[in-house]
């Protein structure tokens, strides 16, 4: 019996050294951008639930150029004085959009009937430097925002500089430390409410799971974990704590990607359960159903929509 044990032990260690390759620290992969650190969790847990009717018609004129028309009818929330009641005002609007997609230049513009323009520009200035600009321009004075980002992509790191209107400056940096772990940090300074902040983030991902954590001096601590159970199913969970305002939220969600449809849902520790169904009725025709039940505030939102093209 004692003779059997050592040969088994050596066979196992041989198998293990074959599987664990030597990590080449000079050739690490480029990490995900800092603002997309928790993108897998956002897909399940922060799906865009809407209320009312939504109709999107998108017409492609070209490989690169397309126009879109969308109609949205439904109540929109207005911030109210007391946190218990929500004031909803029924509105209807039409939005015209134009998109241009090129490998080097992407332009997206959306114009509403009340004059609000939502513009996004992404231009590759060089191989590694990307300029992104984002703006919401309104007719009301002092309600417009614009933000410019300069992203530099290195071999195993990414750096970003952000400039926004009303004197907002921010910088983020993220670096791959091992093939699976990346660490990053951010710094920002806002001119109008004179405050500055610093934050750190970490992301660990394998083929089957992704775990991220973020800490910021604005008081937020957020951690999330996504497990990819198969090609079709993934589950996510999220925990957010604000140590300045003492808010805690934990949520659990799922994302089922099936052949003809995609269902995403989540349930929250604030008593909010929500789900979003996107079903492909035929080529280019998608049907959307959205529901969000807030049991604590007794606010129930249901929406349906159709996307063509």
């Amino acid at each position: 019996m004692a003779d059997l044990l050592p040969p088994l032990g050596t066979a196992q260690t041989d198998g293990k050294t074959k599987v664990d390759e030597k990590v080449d620290y000079s050739n690490l992969p480029c990490p995900v951008p800092y603002e997309e650190l928790h993108r897998e969790a956002i897909m399940s847990l922060k799906a865009d639930n809407f209320e009312g009717l939504r109709f999107d018609f998108s017409k492609g004129l070209n490989q690169k150029f397309s126009l879109s028309h969308s109609v949205m009818m439904g109540p929109t929330e207005v911030p109210s004085q007391s946190p218990d009641t929500t004031i909803k005002i029924p509105t209807a609007h039409y939005e015209f959009g134009a998109n241009y997609f090129d490998p080097k230049l992407m332009l997206i513009g959306r114009l509403m009937t009340d004059g609000r323009l939502n513009a996004r520009v992404k231009a590759d200035l060089t191989d590694r430097l990307v300029l992104k600009a984002n703006g919401q321009l309104t007719n009301e004075p002092h309600m417009s925002h614009a933000m410019f980002n300069f992203d530099y992509m290195g071999s195993d790191y990414r750096a970003q500089l952000q400039l926004g209107n009303s004197a907002l400056i921010g910088a983020t940096y993220i670096q791959s430390v091992t093939p699976r772990l990346s660490l990053g940090g951010e710094v920002f300074w806002a001119g109008v409410p004179r405050k500055s902040g610093i934050g750190y983030a970490a992301r660990y991902d394998t083929d089957k799971m992704v775990a991220t954590a973020q800490v910021a001096s604005t008081g937020t601590i957020a951690m999330n974990y996504v497990q990819k159970i198969s090609d079709k199913v993934s589950l996510a969970t999220d925990f957010a704590y604000n140590y300045l305002s003492r808010d805690v939220v934990a949520s659990v969600g799922y994302d089922y990607i099936l052949r003809q449809s995609r269902v995403r849902g989540k349930i929250d520790s604030n008593g909010v359960a929500s789900a979003l169904l996107e079903e492909r009725l035929s080529m280019g025709l998608n049907f959307l159903l959205s529901a969000e039940l807030d049991h604590k505030k007794k606010d129930y939102k249901f929406g349906f929509g159709l996307t063509v093209g």
Partner: protein, 77 residues
């Protein structure tokens, strides 16, 4: 008649002040001018972007290959 004495006062008051702190007042007024110019140009840029961004995308799109027709732009199908 009331305006004249105030103007004279202004002239007298400015004289000694102006000579001693001419550089600081000119630099502060330069800063004010630069701020005013940037505010004016940002306002004009905002109006230009609001009116011109979507037409710019449409012009760039209509010039890309293969060139779409004007009819395709306007028809709802």
């Amino acid at each position: 008649m009331a305006a004249k004495p105030s103007l004279k006062n202004k002239g007298r008051g400015k004289g000694p002040k102006g000579s001693s702190s001419s550089t600081s007042s000119s630099s502060s007024s330069k800063y004010e001018l630069v701020k005013e110019w940037t505010n004016w140009s940002l306002k004009k840029a905002k109006v230009a972007t609001q009116y011109g961004f979507i037409p710019l995308i449409i012009i760039i799109g209509m010039k890309s290959d293969p060139k779409p027709h004007l009819f395709q732009l306007l028809s709802p199908v």
